[in-house]
Amino acid sequence: MRSSKKEQDSLLKWFQEKLSKSSDVEQRSLGNSDQQVNLMYLRSVSDSKVVNQYIIRPYYEMEEEGVYEKYIASFPGSKSSQDAKEALELLLNGYIAIFFNEGTLYLFDAVRAEAGPVAEAQTEVIVQGPSDSFNESMDVNMNLIRRRYQSGDLKAETTTVGHKSKTKIAIMYDETRVDPQVLKELKKCLDGINIDILQAAAELDKYLSGNKYRLFPTTIVTERPDRAVFNISEGKIILIVDTAGFVVILPAVFSDFFTAMDDKLQVLPVGWFLKGIRYLGLILTVLIPGLYVAFTSYNPEVWKVQIALLVAGSRATVPYPSYIEVLIMLLMMEFLTEASLRLPKAIGPTATTVGGLILGTAATEAGLVSNIMIILVSAVAISNFVIPMNMMGFTIRVIKYPFIFLATIYGLLGIVLGLVSVIMYLSSLRSFGQPYFKIYALDRIRTNKVQRERENG
């Protein structure tokens, strides 16, 4: 009897030592000196109501310690642990450590997770369709998905990333549809992540894809449960990052970044039209600045005569070559976008008014930039915003500068060189072993045909 008491003491001591200088540690002893049960927990992450109601009060209502131990063990979420280190981790997580007389240690789940309510999606707004979004709690997020995907095939495995943050990550996928190779590769990647703190889903995306210097996002980061569920049904894997508010979908292909969730709701031709508009926007936003430089400085003969004269006339007062004009205006536009992104909501509109209206008009009147340039810059900005996924939008914002550079050196030829390079680069990318940039539409028609044949016998 004495020896086990000693064991309990030494275990308690070890915990106290580990948690010294933490003011939010609570330690309580229940019972008399002979029969003693010790509690230890962190006030900041454990729910004190639970402690009072389910742990302290029942102890005094029960006669025997053996019964109490059984009572504690019967709760879902309580664990008996031998490993002190693991116990400490759980304790930091919000569990309550209960030390019994015989030296056994129970951990009681009393985690208090603070998270915002399920709010409306902010970054991927759609017109019709569900508007709820993921929040910072993993359990809520899993609930949002499970409710929409009620199948036994939906699996959820959890693991942690980050030496200090111990961020929980749930890997969810449909067992019957997922590509096992991708799953294997993902797990290997997750094990290989060697960082201290993980706070955002987009950060995870950065570490997963290996190559730091790649230009295009190879995983989707979304806040929409419906997108996540749709992708699960297509055989993709989603990673829910606890405390992040966003989930990661992988593997991603290029065309995924040009799909909005309400495409599915539209009648088919309208859906195609909207998709076409987005790709057109992509082409325009990337090529317009480069083409302007190429056409004004190298190949004005490409245009019809009237247009060539119009552009030349509008540029008559501009005192420097076209590429400087383009760069100045584009940089101003980047500043404007960046400024209005980070500004508090109350000041935001002012920046746009000052930048867009006053600066634009004044610059053309002063003769520093041509009128046509202003039109083109606005067209570039607007068509950039057409891209529904933010990550891709940022990439595209960067991509147009190399095109300007190439157009400055080579003219029209440079644009073609750039296009071929970008396409070859995109084709060389892989998202978890899956090709990133292929014409999937052609494959899909074929697979649909095969499927239909199979269904018809």
Partner: protein, 365 residues
């Protein structure tokens, strides 16, 4: 492993690219001496070679020519053959690039120095040939799908133009019954050679099947007819031979009426520049892989700089030197290449057959 459809793209890229090369010029030069017959004859020859090559390649699933030759022939023989093939593929890419530097200088930007243009081409091509074979095929598919509508547009524009002289075409067709020379046949069969890139790309194919061989035959035939007769229809039976790039001169004849870009030449240039680049990428990718096959040693040493870079550097250096040749030398070399190509192709297919036999004999032992 990639899907079977990519074999068609490999065929298509060669068929499409032929119009900028020496094929139309060679055939047009012999328009009164059997070019038309050469076109007719080249179809069965091209299809037979294609069929045989695919059949032979299927005997070695997932293997490229370097592996096949190295495994089944004496070292010296395989090295000589690989070196020869490397040269042929290297020249295929180089001719396209050099021709395009010239075209760019003539038609698009005379302000940029040819050296700079060549450097631009080389940077893009050399960075791309190091990609995996799969990636190159994906890129090829995308570029072809983007460009084919433009080609069809230009074709319709050309054929529906009232200035197109059908009489000139008829005039040349009356010379159809002349027996063709070897050179004309070699030039005409060039458009079917795309499948030969299987020599390396076979590594990523599961099993190649070509269905509807006759459709490829018809497509090839029509391509050749268009290649030769559209320039004749625009520039006349006699004057057509005065153009160095008959197709670019033809495209420059056309203009759009209701669009912001007036000259069709620019669509044509855009399309053919992208296609030429990707075609050069494919050819040099094959050349590079063959060249690497030359130096395979049993034990693999890890070196600081990938030896691939030295090979690419050699490719670039040779390209920069050879681009300074004059028009006549280039012309002669281009036609010589086309003549030699047909023989090299047959040798390649025959060597595959021998390799297959030798391997079977070895297995029986």
């Amino acid at each position: 492993m990639v899907k079977n459809k990519y074999i068609y793209y490999l065929f298509l890229i060669n068929a499409l690219i032929n119009v900028i090369n020496f094929v139309p010029r060679g055939l047009i030069a012999q328009r009164f001496n059997g070019a038309a017959m050469a076109i007719v004859v080249s179809v069965p020859i091209g299809l037979t070679l294609m069929y045989l090559c695919v059949k032979m390649m299927n005997k070695f699933p997932g293997e490229g020519l370097p592996e096949i030759l190295n495994a089944n022939f004496p070292r010296l023989v395989s090295k000589v053959m690989l070196f020869g093939h490397t040269l042929f593929w290297y020249f295929a890419g180089l001719i396209t690039l050099v021709a395009f530097v010239d075209v760019t200088m003539r038609y698009i930007t005379s302000d940029v120095s040819p050296l700079l243009i060549m450097v631009g081409f080389l940077v893009v091509v050399c960075l791309a040939i190091r990609l995996t074979s799969e990636s190159i095929l994906y890129g090829l598919e995308v570029l072809i799908v983007i460009n084919v509508p433009i080609i069809i547009y230009v074709l319709f524009k050309a054929l529906l133009n009232p200035m197109f002289s059908w009489d000139a075409v008829m005039q040349v067709i009356t010379y159809s019954l002349k027996a063709p020379s070897y050179g004309a046949i070699a030039q005409a069969t060039f458009i079917f050679t795309g499948y030969l890139n299987l020599a390396v790309f076979n590594r990523v194919f599961d099993k190649v099947r070509i269905r509807q061989l006759w459709l490829i035959g018809i497509f090839g035939f029509l391509t050749l007819v268009v290649t030769v007769f559209i320039p004749i229809g625009y520039q006349g039976t006699i004057n057509v031979e005065r153009h160095v790039y008959p197709w670019f001169s033809t495209a420059d004849v056309l203009r759009t009426k209701n669009f912001i870009i007036e000259r069709v030449l620019f669509f044509f240039y855009f399309t053919y520049l992208t296609l030429s680049l990707v075609s050069s990428i494919i050819h040099w990718h094959v050349a590079l892989e063959m060249f690497k096959g030359l130096f395979t040693t049993k034990e693999k040493k890890k070196r600081k700089i990938d030896p691939e870079w030295w090979m690419i550097l050699a490719f670039c250096a040779a390209a920069l030197i050879l681009m300074n040749t004059n028009q006549f030398v280039r012309d002669r070399a281009g036609l010589l290449y086309l003549d030699g190509r047909l023989i090299a192709e047959m040798i390649l297919i025959f060597s595959l057959y021998l390799a297959h036999k030798r391997r079977r004999a070895k297995k029986r032992e």
